[in-house]
Structure formats: structure tokens, C-alpha cells
């Protein structure tokens, strides 16, 4: 019988990385394959680094580091009773190895979770013949290059997301349950927005966004500021916080500055800013956002729209060195400058702009530079259609998309955000899924 203490280890070639997938070839059930003692090795993948050194400073700077393929090696004994049985088994093995993308399941005896290795086209390093053995006993050594990470079973769930940034259990996004794995994993999403969304922005970040329901203070020349409430404005019937600021142009060269008070403390870093606003006439208003309203260049809003307008990447909190971790900051950020350029546009007294809420989504926080956020912007999503983002970041269902697909990172809070250019009351059901990825192998809870 078994002289191997690890005969309960599970080594199987399976059809898919799922617990109930069809077993295509069992490599450790003695029929006829048995993994040799100390016959398995799956060292974690190496890092491929691009680092630079210079005589101008100490140490090296890692510009880029990515993981290489890993190499999995296996020694199998073919415990056959006849030569034919042995040769047939080796043929069956060869058929599997000759393919690209074969899934190898491994579960050490006593472990509770499966790890799946996605093999590339592999080779027999050796077939050891024991000449004169009538039972066809042979020992096969395999070297199998595989994708860098081992996969765990698919994690998936459904969540309902509201489009209102201040109201709802999952307002403009949701926090993922604790992410399993050692390294980041791409998140696949599929969703069916309720009605015509236009553009959608999907983000994944290490913390929640900062949401401001209306601009705190501000004024300027040539503008009159009033507060409007829900229902007063046909163009934007609902406001996230119930009220919004309306600026109506009264004269000549109009320039206004609005300052947003950021709740304290906030995490210094880079944020992508979206504002919900409406303008009375197309192409009339220009704005710029940031501590110094020079760059990014101000962008006009295409009007009649009420919707979420991207303002670009802004920085909250000053820091001298990206490696220095400042204390969490407090206070206001701004000014956000709203200007009307008279010499270029036909402008008239009475034009207005309504500013409802501002959302700042973190993309790179100062104390977390091992983790960058991702932002995927989908444009012109057709109405009443579903769209999906797969594990490679390929989007189905949107006319145009740019940026990067969402990624979840273990050991951090992971918040996936979604802003739709749709009604504030819109709700969307989203199904998310990811395969946890491991440098070595899957453990139970993580």
C-alpha cells in the first residue's frame, strides 16, 4: 500500500478553478500516479525589478517591479501494473501538459482550502526508466511554468448601490469585505443600470471618498449667490444634501471663487474630483479647481446637462517628500474658481450655474504609496443595457472607456465607487467577483 505519508495531498488537473470542477487527471490517487516524496515544489515567483542607482544619492530607486512567472515542479511515480497502463497514463499526462492554461489544483493534506495554479505549456524534464520492470514502473519529472500567483476559489457577491452621495447604505459605492490573498486581484463587475446613465466612473481606492454636499462659502464679482432647495430647479430637481448653491450672473466680467470646507481630519494625497453641477446655457462657464487655479486648464461644461463633471486630479494637503508621512490635515481646501471668460463666449446676464455636491475620490494617499487607486471611466454607456468588466479589465457594453479596471488589495480597506450620470435616486445592482491571488498557496481565512 502506501509508503507515502502524503497520500492525502490533493494534486489534480481540473477543468476550472472551482471546488466542484471536473477532474481531468488525478495526479495523486495511485491510479496510477503518485507524487513522489518531496516531489512537489512551488516557490513563490521572483520579482523583476527595474531599479536605478546614481552617484547623486544613496540607495537605489525602484522604478518598477513586477512578478515573473513561477516554476512549479513535480515528480510523479507511475504505479502501474502493466507497461501499457503506464504508457497510457504518460500519454494522458502529456496531453494535459501540451496545452496552455491548464489548471492544477493542489491542497496539502490537512489544509482546508484549494489552491489553483494556472500552468503554461509544460515539459517533461525527465522520464526515469527502470529497465526490466514488467509492471512499467516509471518516474516522471515535470517542470511547469505557471502564472505568478496561485488562485483561490472565486469570491463573489451582489450589492445594491445608490447614486446619491449622501443618502443610502451603499452611497455611490460599497466597501468590500476583507480581501483574501497576498497580492492585489483584479475585480470583475457586472451590472445593469436602471436607466440611461451616459457616463459611469468606477473607482477602487484604499479609503472612502470625501463627499461635500454643497460649497461652503464663496462669492465674487458679477455673481449673486443664492441657496436653492429640492424642487425649485427643473434642471436639477434633487440635490444630494437637499440644497445647492446657485450663482446667477449679474454683470460684466464675472469671476467667483468657491471654497469647500473639507471635514477634518482628511488624508493628504491625490484625489480625483467630481462635481455635480448644472449650467443654464451650453459652453458658457469655465472653471478650474485646485489650490492654484492655473492648471489643470479650465474646462467648459456642456450645458443643459446636470450631471457629474470631472475636474481632474487634485491634491489635498501639501507635502515636501512623498515618503514623508504628515499628520492628517485639517481645514479647508480651495479656492475653486468659477470664472466666465467674457471675451471668448457669448455671455449674458442671467446665466447661472448650480453646484450641488463635490466628491473627492482618493487615488494615491501619502501614507499608502504601496497602493494606488484605480479609476475607470466608461463613456456613453447605452441606456438600459448591462455592462461588465472582466478580470483582465476588458469592458463589454460601453462605447468607450479609459483608465484602469478596479483592483482589490488585501490588508487594506477596499472601497469600490461608482458614480453614474443618472438620477440621484437611481439604484444599481452590481455583482462583483474576484479570484484571491497568493504568492505561495491558499490559507483558510485569508
Amino acid at each position: 500500500m502506501s509508503e507515502y505519508s502524503h497520500f492525502e495531498d490533493l494534486f489534480q488537473i481540473v477543468a476550472a478553478p472551482k471546488a466542484d470542477a471536473t477532474v481531468l487527471l488525478d495526479l495523486n490517487n495511485g491510479d496510477p500516479f503518485r507524487v513522489g516524496k518531496d516531489g512537489w515544489s512551488s516557490p513563490p515567483p521572483n520579482l523583476r525589478r527595474s531599479a536605478s542607482t546614481s552617484n547623486l544619492y544613496d540607495g537605489s530607486g525602484d522604478a518598477i517591479s513586477v512578478y515573473d512567472d513561477r516554476e512549479v515542479s513535480l515528480t510523479l511515480h507511475v504505479l502501474s501494473d502493466t507497461q501499457d497502463e503506464c504508457l497510457e497514463a504518460i500519454v494522458a499526462l502529456g496531453r494535459q501538459l501540451d496545452r496552455d492554461g491548464v489548471w492544477l489544483l493542489r491542497r496539502p493534506a490537512g489544509a482546508t482550502e484549494n489552491s489553483y495554479f494556472r500552468l503554461k505549456r509544460s515539459e517533461f524534464t525527465d522520464v526515469l526508466e527502470y529497465n526490466g520492470q514488467g509492471d512499467g514502473f516509471r518516474t516522471v519529472s515535470l517542470t511547469m511554468p505557471a502564472e505568478p500567483f496561485a488562485f483561490g476559489d472565486l469570491e463573489t457577491d451582489e450589492v445594491v448601490v445608490q447614486n446619491n452621495p449622501v443618502v443610502g447604505a451603499n452611497r455611490q459605492g460599497w466597501v468590500m469585505p476583507a480581501i483574501k490573498g497576498d497580492v492585489s486581484a483584479p475585480l470583475a463587475l457586472s451590472m445593469s443600470p436602471a436607466s440611461e446613465p451616459g457616463d459611469a466612473v468606477i473607482t477602487s481606492a484604499a479609503s472612502s471618498p470625501i463627499i461635500l454636499a454643497s460649497p461652503a462659502s464663496g462669492g465674487g464679482t458679477g455673481w449673486t449667490r443664492t441657496t436653492v432647495v429640492d424642487g425649485e430647479e427643473d434642471s436639477m430637481p434633487a440635490f444630494a444634501g437637499g440644497t445647492a448653491a446657485k450663482f446667477t450672473r449679474t454683470s460684466g466680467t464675472a469671476e467667483a471663487e468657491l471654497t469647500f470646507e473639507i471635514p477634518t481630519p482628511y488624508q493628504p494625497g491625490d484625489y480625483v474630483a467630481y462635481v455635480r453641477m448644472a449650467v443654464s446655457v451650453a459652453d458658457n462657464i469655465r472653471y478650474s479647481f485646485g489650490p492654484v487655479p492655473v492648471l489643470p486648464a479650465s474646462t467648459p461644461i456642456f450645458g443643459g446637462d446636470s450631471g457629474w463633471i470631472p475636474l481632474g486630479t487634485v491634491r489635498l494637503g501639501e507635502s515636501v517628500d512623498p515618503r514623508f508621512v504628515p499628520e492628517d490635515s485639517a481645514g479647508s481646501v480651495g479656492p475653486w474658481t468659477l470664472t466666465q471668460i467674457v471675451d471668448w463666449w457669448d455671455t449674458s446676464v442671467g446665466d447661472w450655474v448650480i453646484i450641488d455636491s463635490l466628491v473627492l475620490i482618493p487615488v494615491e494617499l501619502d501614507n499608502d504609496f504601496l497602493r494606488d487607486g484605480t479609476t475607470l471611466i466608461l463613456r456613453d454607456v447605452p441606456p438600459d443595457s448591462g455592462f461588465s468588466i472582466d478580470h483582465r479589465g476588458v469592458v463589454a457594453g460601453a462605447e468607450r472607456f479609459n483608465g484602469g479596471a478596479p483592483v482589490v488589495v488585501p490588508g487594506h480597506t477596499n472601497r469600490v465607487g461608482m458614480i453614474l450620470n443618472d438620477e440621484l435616486t437611481a439604484e444599481t445592482t452590481i455583482t462583483w467577483s474576484y479570484y484571491p491571488r497568493f504568492l505561495f498557496s491558499r490559507a483558510e481565512l485569508t
Binding site: S54, A63, W344, L370, D380, F401, N402, G404
Partner: protein, 528 residues
């Protein structure tokens, strides 16, 4: 961490994320914006050819902003020991669009030689370029009747300028001064306009002969005309009874200037009042070029800073690309530049800007990985001669000088000669000469600096990654004190950037001459 860049291919089949990218190289230049993108794909050669003129777009995955891109010009494949590789090369949309159309073009033409006699009713009258005589009368378009012969009723001569007909443009305005040698109601002088091929015409200005009319400048403008006109003309006629011509029977049009219609950023033609000044600025020319020849550039929402210099002549009948025309204009308007970056919000045009250089340094590179700086002193000049030609054909020159400490110290003078394009204007020659001397007062802070580490952007107050650095701005480099250059500050000007994902490094070219479109393409082809 890996470089968070995503490369997309966009063409008639839609948008596609390229998953098999093995390397991305991007360059940007000033002027021009995104200049090139090269992508290697590990993809079987048997897959479908990628159609030319597709767009390659490179996005930063973190914030969804475009950081590079270009129009695919070369989608070649190769097969060698390293495998089956597609090598896609794209030229930045700004450089590509500005080279798409090479067309004859003018905005303001003062070339006297473009006026030719079109017709005369009798050989006893003539119209040509000349001077009526007398010491204070400059040459112009001169009409004369033969002395001692009858200037008969109905005698008429017409001179025309058909430049706009040749270039396919419509006239925006005709400007002139006129004066005649005799005063009389029986002789008339007219400015006229005709459509292509002299098919139809109208009188745009009429008056009777007057010896005192010389001081008034007349500009007739397109929105007062009944139709669009491409041929400008001046006609002198005898409407009254015959009389014997004397030596004073002449009419002269001085400084005849034709202007083309100019587009404004919303695609409409600028109103006639625009042409009153008979000048055009570089910013206004840039806007017109975008509307006229570069429809892919989003000029409607572009960031345009008005430029101050008033060009009194822009005329390129031999044909010119927008890139080359802007290069000429910016030789005089040296404080300005233009760039085309990523896709605009509308998705079918590219965002464009025309702006002045910021004197405040934008970037700070704290940890350069490499730095070179050649310091060629033979760029230093303290005197320049600018030469050109008057409308009459006479050659002229003027000299500009500047005190340069490095040369005075060794009692050396170094002179260069440059040509002024187009008709002579002393003011423009002086401006160009002074700009030249300002650039050549010190050795340029040339060289390269390379970094793989984050760079501080003082305008947005963020640390940006190497691939986000843009040319056309000044930079200070940690640990290296540059020489005080001609702008008087201890900073370098970035004229081009080049990023490779293989090394994760950006190389910034400093203070050297800007990359022309030809050099960009040559560089692209050499890399293959």
C-alpha cells in the same frame, strides 16, 4: 509597483484594451504636445492587421487621465528569436494634424508684385507698379494716361490681385491709401471685388479724383459686400468728357493690402471689424489654422492665451503646413507655444492649447538618475544683422546689438545674419533681432536629465510620476545648479520628454532647439 499604464487602440471597430503590451515608449515635445507613442505587442503574426490611422491612447490607470497617445502610422510586424512581435508606432495628434495639410495660404498680403494689370481699354492709359514722380511720393499701384493724348470717355484700366483665388480663400478686406494727380469729378477711382474667374463683381469703394485724398486709410470689409469675393482690384476710369492728359493725369494706390477671411474658434468667420487693424496675432492665426486645416483639434474649448504681437504680413503662396507656419510665427512671438494633448471630452477631437511660457518653474526633480550638459559657447552672439526686402524689391538690413559680459570680458564680438521672412517691417525686424540676441546671450542650458522617481509639480501641488512630466515648462533639478541662462533664472526649460516603461525612467531634454515634426518622424523611423 508595476507601471499603471493602460494602452487602448481605437478605430472604426471600437475601443480595445491591448492586453499583450510588452513595452510602451512615449515622447512629448514643445511645441506639439504628445509627440509619439510606440508599443510592442506580443501577438501572433497571423492575427488581423491593425488598420492605419487608428489611435493609440495611453491612460494612467490610477486617475483615468490620458498620458500619451498618437495616430497609428506604422503597424508593422516582425518575427525573430525574441518571438512574434507587433510594433505599433503612433505620431502625436498635434504633430500629425499639423502636417496633414500643406496648402497655399495667406492672412495678410502686401506684396506689390501680386498686383497685375488685368485690362485697359486703350494703350494710351496704363496701370502698373510705379511712382508718379516727385520726391515725396512712394511707389504704389500707378495709373497713368499718356501725356498730350486724350483721356477719353469710357477709358478704364483695372489692376487685380488674384492671390486669394489661387489659394481658394475668400477676401476679408482690402486696404489702401489713394491719391490722384488732379482733382475732378469726371475721373473715378474704385476698389472692386470679383468672384472666382471674374464671374461677377461689385464696386466696393468709389470716389472721384482728388489730390488731397492721400492721408486717409480705407479698409473695405467683407460683411459690407453683396457676395464673397476672391479677386481684389482697383479701377481708374474716365466718366466725364474727353480731355487732354497732362503729366498730372495719374492715380496712385499706396500700400494695397488684401486680407483673407479669418475663422474664429466657434467656426464662424470673424466680422469685418476684425480687419480694421490690418494685422493678425499668432493666437488668432492658430485658431484659424485649427478650424481651417486641423479639424481634429478641439479649438472650441481650447485654452487660448491672446498673443500681443501684431503681424502685418502672413502670406505663403508656395504652400505651408500649419506646423511650419506656427514655427515661423513663434520665431517672433517667442514667449508662446502650442500643444495638443489627449482626447477632449467630446471624444472625437483632441484638447489643444496656445499659451505663453510660464517663467515660474513648474517641476522639481529631487533625485535625478542621470544628467548631461554640454555647454556650447559658440552659440553666444552679441550682434545680429536682420536682412529682408521691401515691397519694391529693394534689399534692406538692420543691425541689433546687445552687451554680453562673456564676450566683453575677452574683447570679442560675434555676429550672425538672419533673414526676415516676408515683407520688410522695421519693427518686426527689430523684435526678431532682439529675440534672437536674448536667446544667444548665454550658452543654452542644454542637456538631459533622467529620473525614475516622483517629480514635484508646483502648479498642481502634487507629486507626479515620471510619465506625467510635460515639456514646455521650467524645471529645477536637485543637486545641480544650472548656469544662469538668458532668462535670468537658475532653471532649465524642458523641450521634450521621453518615457520608457521598460526602465520606468523619463528623460527630459533641456533647453535645446525644439523638436520639429521632421525630426520626430525621423526619430520614430530610426528606432525600428
Amino acid at each position: 509597483m508595476s507601471a499603471p499604464l493602460a494602452v487602448y487602440l481605437r478605430n472604426a471597430d471600437g475601443w480595445r484594451l491591448l492586453l499583450e503590451v510588452s513595452d510602451v515608449q512615449m515622447t512629448s515635445t514643445d511645441p506639439g504636445g504628445f509627440a509619439s507613442v510606440e508599443v510592442d505587442l506580443a501577438r501572433p503574426l497571423s492575427s488581423k492587421m491593425i488598420p492605419p490611422f487608428s489611435d493609440l491612447l495611453v491612460y494612467d490607470r490610477r486617475n483615468g487621465e490620458q498620458v500619451g497617445g498618437g495616430r497609428l502610422l506604422d503597424g508593422g510586424r516582425s518575427l525573430d528569436a525574441s518571438g512574434q512581435v507587433w510594433h505599433l508606432s503612433g505620431l502625436g495628434e498635434g504633430l500629425a494634424s499639423s502636417a496633414d495639410q500643406k496648402i497655399p495660404l495667406f492672412y495678410i498680403d502686401r506684396e506689390m508684385g501680386n498686383w497685375l494689370l488685368h485690362e485697359r481699354s486703350t494703350r494710351r492709359i496704363n496701370a502698373s507698379v510705379g511712382s508718379p514722380g516727385g520726391s515725396s511720393i512712394d511707389p504704389g499701384l500707378l495709373f497713368e494716361a499718356t501725356e498730350d493724348r486724350d483721356f477719353v470717355t469710357g477709358a478704364t484700366a483695372l489692376m487685380t490681385n488674384r492671390l486669394a483665388e489661387m489659394t481658394g480663400q475668400s477676401l476679408g478686406a482690402i486696404g489702401f491709401n489713394r491719391r490722384e494727380g488732379q482733382t475732378g469729378a469726371g475721373s473715378s477711382v474704385k476698389a472692386v471685388g470679383y468672384s472666382d474667374g471674374m464671374a461677377s463683381g461689385e464696386d466696393l469703394y468709389t470716389d472721384t479724383w482728388d489730390t488731397d485724398a492721400g492721408g486717409t486709410r480705407h479698409v473695405v470689409k467683407w460683411d459690407d459686400w453683396s457676395a464673397s469675393r476672391s479677386i481684389a482690384g482697383f479701377r481708374w476710369s474716365r466718366t466725364g468728357a474727353d480731355y487732354k492728359a497732362t503729366e498730372d493725369t495719374w492715380g496712385r494706390v499706396a500700400d494695397p493690402v488684401i486680407q483673407a477671411r479669418v475663422y474664429d474658434r466657434d467656426g464662424a468667420i470673424r466680422p469685418g471689424s476684425f480687419h480694421n487693424s490690418e494685422t493678425i496675432s499668432a493666437a488668432q492665426a492658430f485658431i484659424d489654422l485649427c478650424v481651417r486645416s486641423m479639424p481634429r483639434l478641439d479649438i472650441a474649448t481650447a485654452n487660448i492665451t491672446p498673443s500681443p504681437y501684431a503681424f502685418s504680413t502672413i502670406s505663403e503662396p508656395d504652400g505651408i503646413t500649419p506646423f511650419d507656419l506656427m514655427e515661423k510665427l513663434l520665431e517672433t512671438e517667442t514667449a508662446f507655444t502650442w500643444a495638443v494633448w489627449g482626447l477632449a471630452e467630446n471624444g472625437y477631437q483632441w484638447s489643444t492649447e496656445f499659451r505663453s511660457y510660464d517663467q515660474t518653474p513648474r517641476y522639481y526633480i529631487p533625485r535625478p538618475d542621470g544628467f548631461t550638459q554640454p555647454a556650447p559657447a559658440d552659440e553666444i552672439r552679441d550682434q545680429v544683422i536682420i536682412r529682408g526686402s521691401l515691397p519694391s524689391g529693394r534689399q534692406v538690413a538692420t543691425t541689433r546689438t546687445r552687451t554680453v559680459a562673456a564676450l566683453s570680458a575677452v574683447n570679442l564680438h560675434r555676429t550672425d545674419t538672419i533673414n526676415l521672412e516676408g515683407n520688410w517691417s522695421t519693427a518686426r525686424a527689430n523684435t526678431q533681432g532682439d529675440a534672437y540676441l536674448a536667446e544667444h546671450a548665454e550658452a543654452p542650458n542644454g542637456g538631459n536629465v533622467t529620473t525614475t522617481q516622483p517629480v514635484y509639480d508646483s502648479f498642481t501641488r502634487r507629486w507626479v510620476k515620471p510619465w506625467e512630466v510635460r515639456p514646455g515648462y521650467k524645471v529645477t533639478v536637485g543637486g545641480i545648479l544650472p548656469d544662469i541662462d538668458s532668462s535670468g533664472r537658475d532653471t532649465f526649460q524642458i523641450v521634450a520628454t521621453s518615457y520608457t516603461s521598460a526602465s520606468g525612467a523619463v528623460t527630459c531634454e533641456l533647453d535645446q532647439f525644439s523638436l520639429t515634426e521632421r525630426r520626430a518622424i525621423a526619430r520614430l523611423l530610426r528606432r525600428r
